[in-house]
Symmetry: D2
Subunit: 293 residues, 4 copies
């Protein structure tokens, strides 16, 4: 069976490895903080002392980190993932970075004789645990075919979208809808509430309507009670909207609903809500609204 490597064993990455182990794959993993990965070692994962060690020992290597800076930290240098790659190996990065950064990295990987795929996911921890995660893949088609069955063990919906960098482009195109849907949902809730409907009833009806995407179902209840811990915070979401707006400018695609939503996220940060779940857009509107009748 293909031997796997996995760098970045946080909330998402750790659960992915857990699924891969259950599917019978041998996995060697690395995490900046080793203690957080102990549960995976207990479950059968091999430990690698550096990203390079993980890459050297595996046929297919995955990474899952928070942003471009964190990716750079595990990729570069003498102990970095890149140094461990070589001919025949496939490296799939599941992080969300800019399409340009992803393509740059793919070129470096190719210069070492290996192949890179960008494979970002759509969905949160609970989507992953329920086995309903979507994975988009960009890069060489043949490399994709080899990795396809492994990705299916992580999430059932795997789609090949085209060349390097296109999967992260697709991911960003999804995320802008997430943010805009949440803003539109909040506008609907507040309009109903100020009309005289209880907020609880408004949420219930909206969750039973044709606008109830899985995202709306997850986050809708947040307008009744914001979660202690953000699933995806205002700053992370704004990072993705900025990538979208920047792509829009370069490609000449106007994104009016995205631009307006981005300003509401800016307002959320101005109000000190930058580390709250992005459902905090409802708080921005509420602060501007008249007293409830």
């Amino acid at each position: 069976m293909t031997s796997l490597g996995f760098v970045g064993l946080g909330v998402m990455g750790g659960r992915m490895v857990s699924r891969l182990l259950k599917a019978g794959y041998p996995v060697r993993g690395y995490n900046r903080t080793r203690s957080k990965a102990q549960w995976l070692v207990d479950a059968g994962m091999h430990w690698g002392d550096t990203p390079r060690a993980v890459a050297e020992a595996a046929d297919v290597i995955f990474s899952m980190v928070t942003d471009t800076t964190a990716l750079q930290a595990v990729i570069a240098g003498p102990g970095g993932l890149l140094a461990g790659l070589g001919p025949g190996k496939i490296y799939a990065d599941m992080s969300t970075v800019s399409p340009a950064a992803s393509r740059d990295l793919a070129a470096q990987v190719a210069s070492r004789g290996a192949q890179m795929l960008d494979a970002p996911v759509s969905g949160s921890v609970s989507t992953l645990e329920e086995g309903r995660l979507s994975i988009m893949v960009g890069g060489n088609r043949a490399a994709f075919e080899k990795v396809h069955p492994i990705l299916r063990a992580i999430g059932p919906k795997v789609t090949y979208v085209g060349g390097n960098g296109l999967a992260v482009s697709m991911k960003i195109a999804i995320n802008l809808s997430l943010a805009v849907q949440m803003l539109a949902f909040s506008e609907g809730v507040l309009l109903a509430e100020k009309s005289g409907i209880s907020r609880e009833t408004a949420v219930e009806v909206l969750l039973n309507s044709v606008i109830a995407s899985p995202m709306v179902k997850y986050r809708g209840p947040f307008v009744l009670r914001m979660p202690e811990e953000a699933w995806f915070d205002v700053r992370m979401m704004q990072k993705d909207l900025l990538l979208a707006l920047e792509m829009g400018r370069q490609l000449g695609v106007p994104l009016p609903s995205t631009a307006v939503t981005n300003e509401v996220l800016t307002a959320a940060r101005g109000m000190g809500l930058g580390e709250k779940d992005f459902a905090a857009v409802v708080e921005v509107l509420a602060r501007l609204s008249g007293p409830t009748k």
Copy 2:
């Protein structure tokens, strides 16, 4: 069994009556153009020569027409529905009119000793046929309780939201999300396409993602091929967004994503797409976008 009346036997109203007949209710119906109702008469519906005749013969009367003007036409005058109402009767209007207009009508109904409910629906013809329609109800609670089982024969999700006019308020709060979700979806599709992903693939991925509300699933494919006949056209949708924006102004609720979407609908009308399905927002953005790579 309660005897029912139904005024307005168009695409939606006709199918509702069909479901009521199948559930065993005796129904007397009226439509401006009688020939369009023949299939219901064949199925056992009694014909009423005027809205008034329908109202006089029934315990509970429904209406389902396109807008305030059409509603006025079946309500008012010597042969109108209002003239046929009296003590003990319940009248449920399922049309989408402004909350203020609905409350005015409720007062007129009350002055004749009857009770009115506003009972707009969320969903389209196919939702209705699949037995998944949502119905929101506003008005007197006791009147709602009497009508509740009948409404459940039309659609399974029936929610009482509060006093007169509040159900249409709720309906408008839903519809603004429909329009905004469609715009955000279109922005995502075009951004992906200009990045180099085929439009077909972009749609497929988005329909498999957490943004895929039932609305997005219905209308998403329209960005690949617009339907010959609009399910809900730009002008109808703009009518609802105007109601939302007007309510927002009166209640002091800013609706930034709704306002921006409304301007894109205005642009669609400027481009001559007023009678196309509101999925035509994608055409507005496409016209403004650079050539596909």
Copy 3:
């Protein structure tokens, strides 16, 4: 010399009559509250007991009231202005009403053998006092030519724009820029302030820059200290923006900056600032912004 009539002797109308008297015209005036017009009677104005009496006694009649409702009140009924019109007379309404309402009224005036012009003004009390008011005129060209010298006694910039209703259309097109310019100015002031520049300095620099329209020069200092009394309040401005957006929809002209500004005005009302000068948009943004460095 042409005998003049003037209905509506408030802040603007009164000062207009004062200028007409100084220019040597005989003027008969009417105001709902007579006491407020005493200073004009002292200055030589004749009093008319009703709008009709004013219209009957004059060759050219003006009106200047706050909105459509107020206009209706002086126009209609047995003592109304309309009843006093007849062949050869010219009636110029200087109020800002909707283009459609203005055209309707013009048709009524024509049916009495008289001619109507819409002649709204751009500028405030101080502009008027400084003799720098702009007047736009819509209606029959020959009627305009007769009234032209009289209007020039009120304000020096008189422009004929076309048929009935077009001058109020033009006025609305101006007012949307007023509101948007104020919002853009406020964005600039706050951005500078949060960067570390004092608000006073930011205002000073902006007032010395190429964005300093007369409106910006008047209202810019309001972001340092809001005036006790609004020059033009949020609700009045929103009334005009609604007319603009409604016209945009009908004519198929998207108005993105107007739509966004209108939502900020809605927010201002939500915050209880509806009766403040529309410079209050700065308060909306300030409430959403982070603490000043």
Copy 4:
């Protein structure tokens, strides 16, 4: 008299030097393309072979280039301006770069014992020629006082706004208003035109109204006929709006009218108008609008 250096003798920089020479200052100048500076040498300017040579020979040195990249090119390296600075010298950069980039450069200048000011201008070539240019200055106050009389020879309105980087912040705050005012003006013109007023008349009336800032007066006629050569093109303006939006995000200042205007500029680029004057926003709206009545 203080000896001056000037790096960057393009359209703006060249005319500034011309004014400084006329004021009697000895000036040594450098330009990438020497031939473009011949007219200044003819007028008495000394030539410097490198930016460094210019800096070494002068007490006060100015630079005026198009963007951060161009600035880097004249600053860095063995022949760069920075290498020619030393104790007692003052360097004033008049380019528009990001506040952060400007502050970084100021620190480098300080490490060589010299002092830097950021001194961007507001206004175009014609404003400069008419002697009405505004100059904003950030940096050490004492350094500003020394340079003040020299700057006044360039443009009469010189304002000290605070520490390093604050003048470019202020400049960006001005420029967002430029772009938004142009969009609002275009909305007004099109709304008037679709109402039935000729575009020429609409422009004339707007230019006589209280919205007529110097910018509107310069660029208003462009909606009748776009200039062959852009004064300030869509891409340059979008560069400044992006700086504004980025600052807004960092400082938590929502900029709704700026964000919407930026998307219209994106649309302009999508339509292939990136190198047209930013008055091209009118073309974007026109393409979306219905046929003129």
